[in-house]
């Protein structure tokens, strides 16, 4: 079959519009996921048993359900009750799903800090709140960055699943235009290229963050 790449140029503006919606989905679901993830990570290490169990239960449940199913739930059940738009439901679903993974990433970073650091802080008379903020978290960030950024790349790509609840993001507009023009291969290749550019930017951001938080010797 013959390919006609001219269609990519004609569709460019619409693809960019879809890309913008993909970025909105990604950004806000990462903000939601990171805040919830941090809360869940701290709850998981709390001295209160109820908080630990809640966090464990949440992480167990949301890592166990496919993102597509979570999105359907966010749209057809939660979205319907709260009167949310499809995009709001999408952010909720993607964010709640991401939170479970981010919680474990943050917890892994915190427990990677040498226990001697906790003991030393306590023996200096620092409160838990104080030493977590000044001593532990800054050290754990170095460990968190690579896995956190890898997870971000996953969230960016999995946002394409949002097409199933009627969100016309990059994958959604690509499919609509593929049906309108009957040139799915050209348009899917263009969409793939845009996803690669976006993930490349995330990889560059990871590199910069790693340098920023590297040990100064």
């Amino acid at each position: 079959m013959e390919l006609d790449w001219g269609v990519v140029g004609r569709a460019f503006d619409l693809l960019l519009k879809g890309t913008w919606l993909t970025l909105i989905l990604f950004f806000f679901s990462m903000v939601l996921g990171s805040v919830l993830g941090l809360i869940l990570a701290l709850m998981r290490m709390s001295r209160f048993r109820a908080a630990r169990w809640f966090s464990l239960g949440y992480i167990w449940l949301f890592r166990g359900i496919p993102v597509l199913v979570i999105l359907f739930f966010a749209f057809w059940v939660v979205g319907l009750q709260l009167g949310l738009t499809p995009v709001q439901s999408g952010i909720l679903g993607l964010g709640f799903s991401a939170a479970a993974y981010i919680a474990e990433i943050i917890r892994a970073g915190i427990i990677s800090v040498d226990p001697g650091q906790f003991e030393a802080s306590e023996s200096l008379g620092m409160t838990k709140r104080h030493y977590m903020r000044r001593i532990i978290i800054p050290q754990s960030i170095r460990v968190i960055i690579p896995t956190y950024m890898s997870n971000s790349i996953l969230v960016l790509k999995v946002s394409s699943v949002a097409v199933a609840i009627g969100i016309v993001e990059l994958t959604g507009i690509t499919r609509q235009l593929a049906n309108a023009t009957r040139q799915p291969i050209e348009l899917l290749t263009a969409a793939a290229g845009i996803y690669v550019i976006l993930t490349t930017l995330l990889i560059v951001a990871q590199e910069l963050l790693e340098r920023r938080f590297a040990l100064k010797t």
């Binding site: 004609r10 503006d13 701290l42 995009v87 977590m132 016309v168 049906n179 309108a180 799915p184």
Partner: protein, 300 residues
């Protein structure tokens, strides 16, 4: 770190995320001033009861079912047979037309929740849908099911004989249901469901399937526009196509039916059909009329 601030911060950020996301939605809806060309029917004007929003006609489509509704690759506009028809109706009623696009399941669900006046993307009236809480306008066109094949196979029997053939179709479509329900008597080798029309046609082109179970209007326009494809065999399972309303909106439906009758009678319907389907299509008299249909739009 377990201070009181976190829950509050979380609430603020979630709220921020949801509010900001609402901005991203504004593009989903295209508001079009009703087309100026058509004449205004005074008797029907201001007579449409129960509109979702006063002065507006909200017609929801998928934007993803050419030639009924498709996104123009150059302009980004939603266009097609369903859109032209909706514009004609809105214009004659003096209503502003709003054209949201959602996927098909959300289209019917949103209609059932009273978000839209009319759903229209090639929907046919069925008893099942009437039981689900929908009512239908008078038929405006009709369609059936036909085999879309590669041009080199246009002399084959289509659905008259599919023994040993591989059939493709669109996942969740009514045409797919026809094939899956008839598996025993049809005797085909395998059925493969594709995500959409573009994927199904690519699958046919690559030889993954021998024929596609397609709407005959969609298949005919595809064959006209692309030499690779043709249609084969008889049209099966003919049925009317209508506007869909939420049950309880019969008065609104009846008021709009008056305008549809005029659009059919003065030949405008035939023009819209020719523009998008290349031919004039039979219009059944009522939604329960069995095919094949003889009634043709005036002007054909």
């Amino acid at each position: 770190m377990k201070g009181k601030h976190w829950p509050r911060l979380a609430v603020v950020l979630i709220a921020l995320a949801l509010v900001a996301a609402a901005c991203g939605d504004s593009d989903d809806t295209t508001t079009t001033a009703a087309a100026a060309a058509a004449t205004t029917t005074t008797e029907a004007m201001a007579e449409v009861p129960d509109l979702v929003e006063e002065g507006k006609l909200i017609v929801v489509t998928t934007g993803n079912f050419p030639p009924f509704t498709l996104i123009n690759v150059d302009t980004g506009d939603n266009e097609g047979y369903s859109i032209d028809l909706a514009a004609e109706v809105a214009s004659r009623l003096g209503l502003e037309l709003e054209l949201p696009t959602v996927d098909f399941v959300a289209e019917m669900e949103g209609l059932a929740q009273g978000l839209y006046d009319i759903a229209d993307s090639g929907i046919f009236p069925s008893q099942e849908r009437q039981d689900d809480g929908f009512v239908f306008s008078r038929p405006m066109t009709s369609s059936g099911v036909i085999a879309q094949v590669l041009a080199e196979n246009e002399d084959t029997a289509g659905f008259a004989d599919v023994t040993g053939k591989k059939i493709g179709g669109i996942q969740g479509s009514s045409q797919e249901k026809l094939v899956l329900d008839g598996e025993a008597e049809m005797g085909y080798e395998e059925y493969l469901g594709f995500l959409g029309a573009a994927e199904a046609l690519t699958g046919l082109e690559q030889g993954r399937v021998d024929l596609l179970v397609f709407d005959n209007l969609v298949a005919a326009i595809t064959a006209r526009d692309d030499d690779t494809f043709s249609v084969a065999g008889p049209t099966i399972s003919a049925r009317p196509l209508s506007f869909t309303y939420q049950t309880g909106n019969e008065a609104k439906r009846d008021a709009i039916d008056v305008v549809i009758n005029e659009i059919i009678a003065d030949g405008t319907m035939a023009e819209i059909q020719k523009k998008w389907f290349g031919v004039c299509i039979a219009i059944p008299d009522d939604i329960n009329q069995a095919g094949p249909y003889e009634t043709l739009a005036p002007g054909c």
